[in-house]
């Protein structure tokens, strides 16, 4: 069956979809794929890690109450980021901190040309795959397994400070790798 909204310009659709009866669970199911992106976005904007889940929940509540555009995932993601930004701005009391949020939002827009940042993550994954086995293991055990620096020093036969230095160099190398690949794609 043809979508009756297909012929309507996207900008008009939110109001029309809002006027229609919405299926709440289905609506939530459409929102859920954006949760990870929203967590990243809110974190970059300065939200504390302990508040990320609450904030995403708040964004979804707004999305359930307000008209939600169903015309495409990128449109919806952009709209949700707008809501997320506002949710965060409400917590910012001073003009300077609000301005910082706006500034960081611009950084996001600049860095994540696809809107969601998924392309950058894909590049990072490729960079990680290209690392030597030992470096990948260090990353995995540090961040995924949460092993402390002392134990890592024992496992990798390094000094405690050596682990710290290695991780710093590893992160710098990965950032450079992502930037190089981004440049290569342009």
């Amino acid at each position: 069956m043809l979508n009756p909204l297909a012929a309507v310009p996207a900008i008009f659709r939110p109001t029309m979809t809002a006027a229609m009866p919405t299926d709440r669970p289905a609506h939530l199911a459409r929102l859920q794929p954006h949760a990870e992106m929203l967590r990243r976005y809110l974190f970059v904007l300065g939200a504390g890690v302990d508040r990320l889940d609450d904030l995403v929940q708040e964004v979804f509540l707004v999305a359930l109450k307000k008209p939600f555009d169903d015309s495409g995932p990128s449109w919806a993601a952009a709209w949700l980021r707008g809501v997320a930004r506002n949710v965060l701005l409400r917590d910012r009391r001073t003009a300077a901190s609000r301005r910082e949020v706006e500034l960081v939002h611009e950084v996001w827009e600049q860095q994540c040309a696809d809107g969601s940042g998924d392309a950058r993550i894909a590049l990072l994954q490729r960079c990680i795959e290209g690392l030597p086995e030992r470096s990948r293991a260090l990353l995995q055990q540090t961040y995924a397994e949460g092993i402390g620096r002392d134990e890592l020093a024992g496992r990798f036969g390094m000094r405690r400070d050596g682990i710290k230095t290695a991780l710093r160099r590893l992160r710098a190398a990965l950032r450079n790798c992502v930037e190089r690949r981004r440049e290569g794609e342009r």
Binding site: P9, L52, L89, V107, L124, I128, Q140, L174
Partner: protein
């Protein structure tokens, strides 16, 4: 970019990488961000920096306090206001533009039929504000019409008619204007989403004013696409129904909103105003939608229908509110402004017989202008109780921390009587005031800046400002020369703003 901005951006990039690393490793952000090695903020360095900032803050506060003790403070910088340099020459033909000097900073230009070439503006490289009027309809426009305007290197403020023959492609040409920040469009046709998409290309556009024409909900929603827009004015725009105005809630960056000529106002119409009939003005539902805008701090209503409930539905954090040319708004509406405890800038006016000279209708007969016993005037008598409004205005000045008062027409006695108590009032702007107002504002104990626009007073009236803390006097279209005013007020900087 400021140093602090750079630091914020650097930190944002660090956080972005941490979030991406977490996603790439398929772990929660907390696993990466919470790790002490991830974010490059050494807590010791952070505390050291915080202590340094604190110390610097204490020293600066002390310095500022010392400075304040010796001289009253000036009003803060007004870079958010559109520059409006004087004088403003008006020309009616492109040929007359050639007679202007290259230093011309402001220009009004009437666009005549058949004059579709704006290249005569090109030599005016110092132009900051350009007003173009187009009284006649033009349907065919050359594709490079606005290129000469876009090439003007200093233009920050542009007022332009949008004719049926002009499309988004024309507006997109303005993207090349390096400093254009304030754009005002006189709509001779319905504003379309394509027009707004074209305006997206303007890199510094922070203010958009729409006059006349029509808009709809989709257009208002599309305004949220403008990446740097933080102020919007809708002036006599058709189609501003409650539903349409509620869509303003999507303009998340909006800091200042101006609504003019919206909503039915019987008194205003009797005074000669015309309104957009299909609008409700600022209704409680619209105000509730505006309360969702996180940055909204300034609202200006002029000739706009408004109720006290609507005022109370606005966010209490507003710092600037202007309620002018709204004769239907009674004392309850004025009193409702107490809902904004942080209000610093207040714009007001009032209505009397003399004021009608400034409205669009013909001047009243002489017997109405003369002072003396009341003369029957059905228009004035239909207005809400003006005495109650004046008392409510005075009460606002007593209760709110107003630092800047803008008043149109002569100050009512009740308002003037509060000025000696207004210890926070540092700036007063009077438009169409009279000599008695100068004596009244001179009693404001903290007055540092006075701006007089089209006021009727003589050089002798300025004597009242002697021995006051006044530091700057600006006149626009005043009768007293700048030199004479400066001589009468030694120690006061006199300018034409």
């Amino acid at each position: 970019m400021k140093k602090n901005d750079e630091a914020v951006c650097m930190m944002a990039l660090e956080r972005l990488f941490a979030a991406e690393l977490a996603a790439a490793l398929d772990v929660p952000i907390s696993a990466v961000a919470g790790h002490r090695d991830t974010l490059p903020v050494a807590s010791r360095a952070r505390w050291g920096k915080a202590a340094a900032v604190l110390l610097f803050g204490v020293i600066m506060t002390w310095l500022v306090a010392v400075q304040h003790a010796s001289a009253p403070a000036m009003q803060g910088p007004e870079e958010l206001e559109a520059p409006d340099p004087l004088p403003i020459p008006y020309v009616q033909h492109a040929a007359d533009i050639a007679k202007l000097t290259k230093n011309t900073r402001s220009l009004g230009f009437t666009w005549e039929v058949g004059e579709n070439d704006l290249s005569s503006l090109t030599p005016l490289t110092a132009l900051v504000r350009l007003r173009i009027f187009g009284p006649l309809r033009q349907d065919v426009m050359p594709p490079d019409l606005l290129d000469p305007i876009a090439a003007l290197p200093e233009v920050e403020v542009l007022e332009l008619p949008l004719f049926p023959g002009m499309t988004g492609k024309h507006l997109r040409q303005l993207a090349a204007a390096p400093k254009l920040r304030f754009l005002s469009l006189q709509l001779h046709r319905r504003l379309s989403i394509a027009d707004i998409e074209a305006l997206q290309a303007l890199p510094k556009l922070c203010s958009l004013s729409l006059q006349g024409g029509r808009i709809d909900a989709g257009t208002v929603r599309a305004l949220s696409l403008l990446p740097t827009l933080d102020r919007l004015e809708l002036s006599g725009v058709g189609g501003c129904t409650e539903v349409v105005l509620q869509e303003l809630r999507t303009l998340h960056r909006l800091r200042r909103l101006g609504l003019t000529g919206l909503g039915k106002q019987p008194c205003a119409e009797r005074l000669g105003e015309t309104t957009d009939d299909d609008s409700v003005g600022l209704s409680p539902a619209v105000a509730k939608a505006l309360a969702e805008l996180p940055l909204l701090a300034e609202v200006a209503l002029s000739h706009c229908a408004v109720t006290s409930d609507a005022i109370r539905a606005l966010p209490p954090r507003l710092t600037s509110f202007s309620l002018t040319r709204c004769p239907d708004a009674g004392a309850d509406v004025v009193a409702a402004l107490e809902h904004f405890p942080h209000l610093q800038r207040l714009g007001l006016d009032h209505f009397d017989r003399g004021q009608r000279r400034h409205w669009r209708r013909a001047p009243p007969p002489p017997e109405l202008v003369e002072t003396g016993p009341p003369v029957h005037d059905p228009v004035i008598e239909s207005l809400p109780d003006q005495g109650a409004i004046h008392r409510a205005q005075a009460e606002l000045l007593r209760r709110l921390p107003i630092a800047r008062l803008c008043y149109n027409y002569s100050l009512p006695d009740e308002v003037a009587a509060t000025l000696p108590e207004a210890t926070k009032l540092t700036t007063i702007e009077l438009t169409w005031g009279v000599a008695a107002d100068i004596a009244s504002v001179a009693k404001a104990p903290a007055l540092a800046r006075l701006r007089l626009s089209e006021c009727s007073f003589g050089i002798d009236d300025l004597q009242a400002l002697k021995d006051t803390p006044l530091r700057r006097l600006d006149q626009r279209w005043g009768r007293v020369s700048r030199e004479a005013a400066a001589a009468a007020l030694p120690g006061v900087t006199v300018g034409d703003d």
